[in-house]
């Protein structure tokens, strides 16, 4: 956890959820900035600990090792499951928290190791939210299936941190967890926060544009470094859980502006899942966005 003085604000940073996280805070002294940073970090780490799929001491592990036995989940997990169910319905099955098992055959490491059709088909019976029995607070995940909040967790952590920080200060804050952002209000001089957009072709080196935000969230879906290339076909890492295969013609990345980070993140993910229809889809949502093909 580090804290640096910038011109007009403090910049705190820490690592969580396998991403660099930062908090920009327009507060006068380091003491206040450090306290806010500690709150944000604690919340990000709490959510990571609770929903990380790399741990064996959390609710997600208990769910994924329940082997078909029903279990009762706490309120927060129940809310997330309800949310996942909504997203599944809204996306007509394209967004599915049970699709993580596809990682067993799809490794987007830039190589040409595209799995066989048989290997993909063999996984499909273990995918599909409709196979999960969810009657709050009771969840039953059939053996072989898994739940993964990876597609929601980071955005959820941003929004949760924003809520906690807003209760502490009226100062303008910009929360950035691995590229998913939330600004609490315009800066003291009335200006917006300016966000540079990463060029997927030169990650971290070049930006393709800039977005301005006073209050609200920005989230990006897509990672230009994660793909497979075989026989001249580029396979994006956005997988359609209904087929088990990458979404054809998915954009390289989609960035969406919305009121909350969860909404921005979901709309961006939905747009990716729409493939060549991404522009049409986001055009209808009447919200700020930026698509890179």
């Amino acid at each position: 956890m580090t804290l640096l003085r910038r011109s007009g604000y403090w910049e705190g940073s820490f690592e969580a959820m396998a991403s660099p996280c930062s908090l920009l805070a327009e507060v006068a002294n380091a003491e206040v900035a450090r306290r806010l940073l500690a709150i944000a970090r604690a919340e990000a780490l709490r959510i990571e600990a609770k929903y990380s799929r790399y741990r064996t001491d959390n609710i997600l592990y208990r769910i994924n090792t329940s082997a078909g036995q029903p279990l009762e989940v706490d309120d927060e997990t129940a809310q997330l499951l309800d949310y996942a169910a909504h997203c599944y319905t809204l996306s007509e099955g394209r967004f599915d928290v049970t699709s993580g098992v596809l990682r067993q055959v799809w490794r987007f490491d830039g190589s040409d190791r595209v799995p066989s059709a048989e290997a993909v088909i063999a996984l499909l019976p273990r995918i599909g939210w409709e196979k999960i029995s969810w009657q709050r607070p009771r969840l039953m995940v059939p053996p072989g299936m898994e739940i993964d909040f990876g597609g929601i967790g980071k955005e959820y952590a941003v929004d949760r941190s924003a809520l906690l920080l807003a209760a502490e200060t009226d100062a303008s804050l910009l929360i950035n967890y691995g590229g998913d952002l939330f600004a609490t209000s315009a800066r003291a001089d009335g200006h917006s926060w300016r966000i540079g957009l990463d060029d997927p072709a030169a990650t971290g080196e070049r930006s393709t544009g800039e977005l301005e935000i006073r209050r609200g969230a920005i989230a990006t879906s897509g990672d230009a470094r994660r793909y497979l290339l075989k026989d001249g076909i580029r396979y994006s890492h956005i997988l359609d859980p209904r087929t088990g295969w990458p979404v054809p013609d998915a954009p390289h990345s989609v960035t969406v502006v919305a009121d909350t980070c969860l909404e921005a993140g979901m709309l961006a993910t939905f747009a990716m899942l729409m493939g060549r229809e991404a522009e049409v889809f986001l055009g209808r949502q009447a919200t700020g966005h930026h698509i890179i093909r």
Binding site: Q69, Q79, T89, S91, E92, M266, L267
Partner: protein, 426 residues
Amino acid sequence: MQLNNGRSIRQALAVATCTLLGTAPQSGHAADNAENWRVDGSILYYSEQDRVTVIEPVVFARRTFADDSALTLRLVYDSMTGASANGATLTNAPQTFTSPSGTSTYTTPANQTPLHQFSDQRVALAAEWEKPVNRMRRYVYGATISTENDYQSFGLSTTLLQDFNDKLSTFTAGLAGSYDLVQPIGGVPTPMQLLSTVVPSSGGDEGGDGGGKGKASLDGIVGFTQVLTRRLLTQFNYSIGYASGYLTDPYKVLSVVNATGATVDYRYESRPDTRIRQSLYWKTVYHLPHDVVHFSYRHYWDDWGVSADTVDLHYRLELWKGSYLQPHVRYATQNAADFYIHSLLNTNPAPVHASADYRLGDLVTTTVGLKFGLPVGKSSELSLRVESMTQSGNSHPADAIGIQKGFDLFPTIHSSIAQLTYTGRF
């Protein structure tokens, strides 16, 4: 295609997100046992002033299983003692009534409402098996059996519950059938027979019409429940029931009076042997930030000419640490059956159907009550409910004859209910 139909997805997503972020996370550990027992034990005390006393212990147990199916068992024992109005009107002379077999009689003093004394025990057992077919559909199968000294009842039912619209809507359809057997103590009376013509039979109380009388019923219900907002739930039900067989109350009589209004004889009552009952029911539950309001309205009608309207209001006031206070008011009005009549004139021929049973008359029922619930330990609750009910009708009907005008032909009935319940989960 929801993803293609434009803007609604963004709004729907915004609502879902608000719901998710609107609830503060609570630390705590989830219980891993989905299989559990819920057991309720309660005792109900019902008392009609100067009339009936019922003491009713109930044991209710519900076991939920890993696959979301559930078994519900309910055991009821009633001990009923007291007296109920036999239908004859109050008059200025002592009145004597004879059982259909002619072997037993009872006498009511002058100026008192004639009551029929009884003492009975009832044991009823109901079982229900709830089986989810998939995430959106459940079936419930039920069976009941009930036995009293003079009454047996057997029933079977099945209900379909279909969720849709993201479980915000539920459609219900149910069918129930039952068969009842009545073996009146003192025999089965001959409808409209004058009590003065009853001849004592050698068969004692087994006399009269001899054995038992049966009644078959078939009931159907369709319902729709809709969650309108996070706070508002509404439900509509329509039910229809058909009963066929012995629908007469063997213990009820009608006074036969002369032109001066003096009682000269009695007739056993007679009801049609079929009845079609229908009702519409609307219920709304509104969750305030802390409290909950339940409101329901029911409209009932049948082909005997009875119609009734009932409004019911509960307000659950949350107190401290999970305890609550729940005031309750209920108001019901009923229009009499076509064949309801307070007494018969001796110069008129006996009608085919007639009953002076106050429960088939014009009736206004008012109930006020209060329930207090107190959590006990982590997952149990103790509650006490007290209610007071008043039933009143037309005490001085316009067609009262002679001296009847001076009597209260429909005395108001006051009753009290107290119920203590313990609910535990294991």
